[in-house]
């Protein structure tokens, strides 16, 4: 049996030899042919003795990556090349108008139901709806099965009913790989056909990533149905395979596209030169004396132009044919009409006697048109690959193997085989394969690939490690906590992919334009043709000014130029290219932005609300002061307080115990520990009743605190939390703890204020403490004594003032506020809640990343606007000039069809390049 596998990572003949040796060493392999340039290995082997997997493993063990074997390439390029472009409305499967009395079934997945009464509530509300025949809720499955009359109630109305009582309808989501899309019109058509499918709730198609993100109800439509619907309009669709296979396939597709367009460009450019010289010699014989006469031969010109039309130009005609077969229009049509018209009229003039005015041939126009457009497509294909580099970098970070401990022995396994709970061993210099918690050893870990933080982080027992980070200095063992799709990296990749597939609201303009543009352009071309044929040709004395004797030829040239210059591909690329680069750049810096909408809204933010604890502060209170107010030594007060708090799980109590340990104080033994919610604790230490807590706790126990009041106020004014310690019925001292500010909080707040954004702090602390902290970092507006559940209401109040509010929190108890705000920014990507409730997730706990996120959104939005300006600018300036608007004044055609093609190619290239320039900008 013979097969060819892709081998990546070989750079020299040494690599070549290693791969050859590794495969040859396998029993059953009869011959190996490694091709360094092609990055492949052709292997002949006996399938009874070995298999492909073993061969691949040998290559991996030798230190290289393997791709798919050739025969298994999932997407045949022929099919993609032949894929059609769009479909007209009448051919789309349509949701038929329901007849009254007709009953249908639907199943919703409902989240938030915790008990039988929840299920009953959902059932009741559904049954109350007019049109619902029956409803049955399955609590364990979290599903509501409903029979309903579509004529009386819609799916959305039923969803609204469920959500109106506090539950949430969960939609199924999938991402499909779509092949054969070449422009924004294609994306719109795939989106349209998906949205017309019964059960599809929303669909977002990105032509740059060739992916369709679909939200649907699996009880109404399957993924296979959606694939069939897409294939039905001439595109190819498939479920994404494994990430590595996807990556491999995408690389092959991109390489193939670049190779095809490069070959097309070489052919058309080589032929364009003699055609141009031959055609121009007629006009400038003196200047082009060196051009041999045979190049002016019209039959030779016909032959050369035909080669260009048949080979590099075929893609436009094939694309047009496929589109027209379904009654749709795309950019191929514009190019095919333009080049086709120039070619046909030249062929007719070559072989037929068309009379005066038809001596001139336009082969050069047709060939130059194709050459420029192919050049544009070639450069675009190269640039498009670079826009999605960030996601590929992330995928490339994943470790391939892991070393797990099985029965006291190390065993190397593929990373996919690691399970939660496995003990993983990593040596210095190795990648941490999955997420976990260190159980033995310590090391410095380079987390820069995930967090963007360049300084390695020290890891010791009980610290969390993130999969795909690099273990730098020491060996350690850790217990796997997240594997496969649950690792932080996998979630980041998914989030970034989804973000890159999303659309910014600003793209609506581009979509509307791209959707109707081609039709409008043809109307304009037709109008321009009529005008110059019937009016302009004679009125502006074209035969004298331009030397063209035929009104048809002149009007045709104008018309072709209008068609060619109007291609809207730059409009379609403007937003997705910038979003892809922007979100990718964010991911590289530890800033995960969930999509275009978040980017656009961040730009408008005028108020940022910071949660205090864990966001502005470290979130871990530290013991700051111990003050004696009686004849008891400070260390004794601390020993008693720490003893009383020893059993406490409250962060303040833990801070006191930690403080006592750090000061080497002998902690007293406490008994009868009792926690009094919101007030403090009560315990018995060495037969004395000890109280430690707030003023309220003392008042409740009739203890006079007048001696402590002044000192307490001073401590609170410094932003500290002071607790009164009482023994028996007298105050013996004060213990103060404070949550210290993060090092970068002040700098970040200052810079955000400099950007003209008001900074607000929200906290559950009392006003005095809150004001003290806010003052120390320059925050003027403070929302103090706000309970966690009231934070969302406070955000709403700010929004009612007309502000666009961003909320920065740790994402756990701030989740409602993060959701309520216009932009939720969650610090730290460790929790699902953080990932779910915020639109921007900062992986590091560094407030300066808030600033970087704002800068990134401003940068991306400015790129989108620049791109749209360029894209629309080319067309809005180009079309009137191409239509001959200035001819009456300058008496010559300012833009020839070939020049129009060059402009059109430039528009796509400039938009993509402009987006890529973002990579060079610093956001930190």
């Amino acid at each position: 049996m013979q097969t060819k596998i892709k081998v990546y990572g070989m750079t020299c003949m040494h690599c070549h030899k290693r791969v050859t040796d590794a495969i040859s060493a396998i029993t059953g392999v009869s011959s190996v042919e490694v091709d360094l340039e092609d990055e492949s290995a052709e292997v002949e082997f006996d399938p009874d003795k070995t298999d492909l997997e073993e061969i691949k493993q040998a290559v991996i063990d030798a230190g290289y990556e393997v791709g798919e074997e050739e025969k298994a390439c999932p997407l045949p390029f022929e099919t993609e090349q032949e894929a059609c472009k769009i479909i007209p409305d009448e051919e789309l499967e349509e949701t038929t108008e329901a007849e009254p009395g007709h009953v249908e079934d639907i199943v919703f997945r409902v989240s938030g139901m915790t008990c039988a009464s929840c299920a009953q509530n959902v059932e009741k509300i559904l049954k109350k709806q007019a049109g619902v025949v029956s409803a049955s809720v399955n609590l364990p499955m979290s599903k509501a099965a409903i029979s309903y009359e579509p004529a009386s109630i819609s799916r959305d109305e039923m969803e609204e009913a469920i959500e109106s009582i506090g539950y949430h309808v969960v939609h199924d989501r999938t991402t499909l790989d779509v092949g054969g899309m070449t422009c924004a019109s294609c994306a719109m058509n795939v989106e349209k056909v998906l949205k017309r499918q019964k059960g599809v709730i929303s669909a977002s198609v990105n032509v740059s990533t060739a992916k369709a993100r679909v939200e649907y109800n699996s009880s109404l439509i399957s993924v296979e149905d959606m694939i069939a619907a897409i294939e039905g309009i001439g595109y190819s669709a498939s479920l994404p395979v494994g990430r590595e296979e996807t990556e491999d396939r995408e690389r092959k597709e991109r390489e193939e596209e670049i190779r095809n367009q490069r070959n097309n460009l070489i052919i058309s450019a080589l032929i364009a030169v003699p055609i141009m010289l031959g055609s121009m010699k007629e006009g400038f014989p003196g200047l082009l004396w060196f051009v041999p006469d045979f190049l002016t031969n019209q039959y030779l010109l016909f032959l050369l132009a035909t080669i260009v039309i048949i080979f590099p130009g075929r893609q436009f005609f094939v694309g047009t044919y496929r589109g027209l077969k379904h009654g749709v229009t795309d950019m191929n049509l514009l190019i095919a009409t333009g080049t086709g018209a120039a070619y046909v009229i030249s062929v007719a003039a070559t072989f037929l006697d068309l009379g005066p005015g038809y001596e001139h041939l336009y082969y050069d126009t047709a060939v130059m048109l194709i050459t420029f457009i192919v050049l544009g497509r070639y450069l675009e294909a190269r640039a498009k690959g670079r826009t999605s580099e960030s996601i590929k970098k992330l995928i490339g970070l994943q470790a391939k193997t892991a070393r797990i401990i099985v029965g006291n022995e190390e065993k190397e396994v593929p990373v996919e085989d690691v399970e939660v709970g496995d003990i993983v061993f990593v040596r210095p210099g190795e990648k941490v394969p999955v997420d976990g918690v260190v159980i033995e050893g310590s090391s410095a870990v380079d987390e820069s690939m995930i967090t963007g933080e360049s300084i390695p982080v020290e890891k010791k027992k009980n610290d969390e490690v993130i999969g795909s980070t690099l273990n730098k200095s020491g060996a350690m063992k850790f217990r796997a906590t997240n594997v496969g799709a649950d690792t932080a990296l996998a979630r980041i990749i998914e989030l970034v992919e989804n973000a890159q597939n999303s659309k910014a609201p600003i793209q609506r303009i581009a979509d509307v334009v791209a959707g109707h543009f081609i039709l409008v352009v043809h109307v304009l071309a037709l109008l321009a043709f009529f005008f110059w044929y019937f009016v302009g040709f004679e009125a502006y004395n074209v035969p004298v000014n331009s030397g063209l004797l035929s009104p048809f030829l002149f009007a045709l040239l104008i018309s072709i130029t209008v068609l060619v210059i109007s291609c809207p591909c730059a409009v379609g690329l403007a937003t997705p290219a910038a979003i892809m680069v922007g979100t990718g750049k964010g991911a590289e810096n530890g800033i995960l932005i969930k999509g275009g909408e978040a980017l656009e809204r961040t730009l408008k933010v005028d108020t940022i609300v910071f949660d205090k604890t864990g966001t502005l502060t470290k979130g871990e209170p530290e013991l700051t002061d111990v003050i004696s107010l009686a004849d008891v030594e400070e260390d004794r007060i601390l020993a008693i307080a720490a003893g009383a708090e020893k059993g406490s799980e409250h962060p303040l109590g833990e801070a006191i115990v930690r403080g006592a340990e750090e000061r080497n104080v002998d902690i007293a033994n406490a008994e009868e520990f009792k926690s009094i919610a919101g007030r403090g604790i009560e315990a018995s230490v060495e037969d004395s009743r000890i109280l430690l807590g707030t003023r309220k706790l003392m008042e409740d126990n009739n203890i006079d605190i007048s001696a402590a009041e002044k000192k307490m106020e001073d401590l609170e004014a410094q932003g500290k939390t002071a607790m009164i310690a009482a023994s028996g019925d007298r105050v013996i001292g004060l213990v103060a703890v404070a949550d210290t500010l993060k090092e970068n909080s002040k700098e970040a707040v200052e810079k955000i204020r400099d950007m003209g954004i008001e900074v607000v702090m929200i906290t559950g602390d009392n006003h005095r403490t809150a004001d003290a902290i806010a003052n120390s970092i320059g925050i003027e507006r403070v929302l103090a004594e706000v309970l966690p559940e009231d934070k969302a209401a406070e955000i709403l109040k700010l929004q009612d003032e007309g502000r666009i509010v961003a909320m920065v929190g740790d994402g756990i108890n701030d989740a409602p506020a993060l959701t309520q705000s216009d932009i939720g920014i969650a610090m730290g990507a460790g929790t699902d809640v953080a990932m779910e409730s915020a639109q921007i997730v900062l992986i590091k706990n560094d407030l300066r990343d808030v600033l970087a996120a704002i800068r990134l959104s401003r940068l991306t939005m400015s790129k989108i606007k620049q791109n749209l300006f360029w894209a629309f600018g080319y067309n809005s300036i180009g079309i009137p000039i191409a239509a001959g608007l200035f001819y009456p004044f300058v008496h010559t055609i300012l833009i020839t069809p070939a020049l129009a093609a060059a402009f059109m190619a430039m528009s796509s290239i400039s938009v993509t390049t402009n987006s890529l320039l973002m990579k060079r900008k610093s956001i930190k």
Binding site: P88, D89, E90, E91, E93, E94, T96, E97, L324, G327, V328, T329, L333, T337, A341, I345, A348, L354, G355, P356, G357, Y358, I518, L519, H522, V523, A525, L526, F529, F530, Y533, F534, F537, E538, S550, P551, F552, A555, L556, S559
Partner: protein, 77 residues
């Protein structure tokens, strides 16, 4: 049922597109002939008129084939 309906709509759209394109072509040809007949030296050669009608037909078919299906669908529904 849906297929039948779609095929019927497609047929109507094709007929409408052909009809409107032919109408435009006729207008173009008649105008050309009219301009020529109103002058002593004709402005348009036969090739101009024939090539022009073909070009106008192609462009107008593209335009009308994009417009008519939507109109017919709305009318039918």
């Amino acid at each position: 049922m849906n297929e039948q309906s779609a095929s019927r709509r497609g047929k109507y759209a094709l007929i409408a597109s052909l009809a409107s394109s032919l109408l435009l072509v006729i207008i173009f040809a008649v105008l050309s002939v009219f301009v020529n007949s109103s002058r002593t030296v004709p402005l348009y050669s036969q090739v101009d008129i024939i090539a022009g009608t073909i070009f106008v037909f192609v462009l107008s078919m593209i335009v009308s084939a994009s417009i008519w299906p939507g109109i017919i669908e709305k009318r039918i529904s």
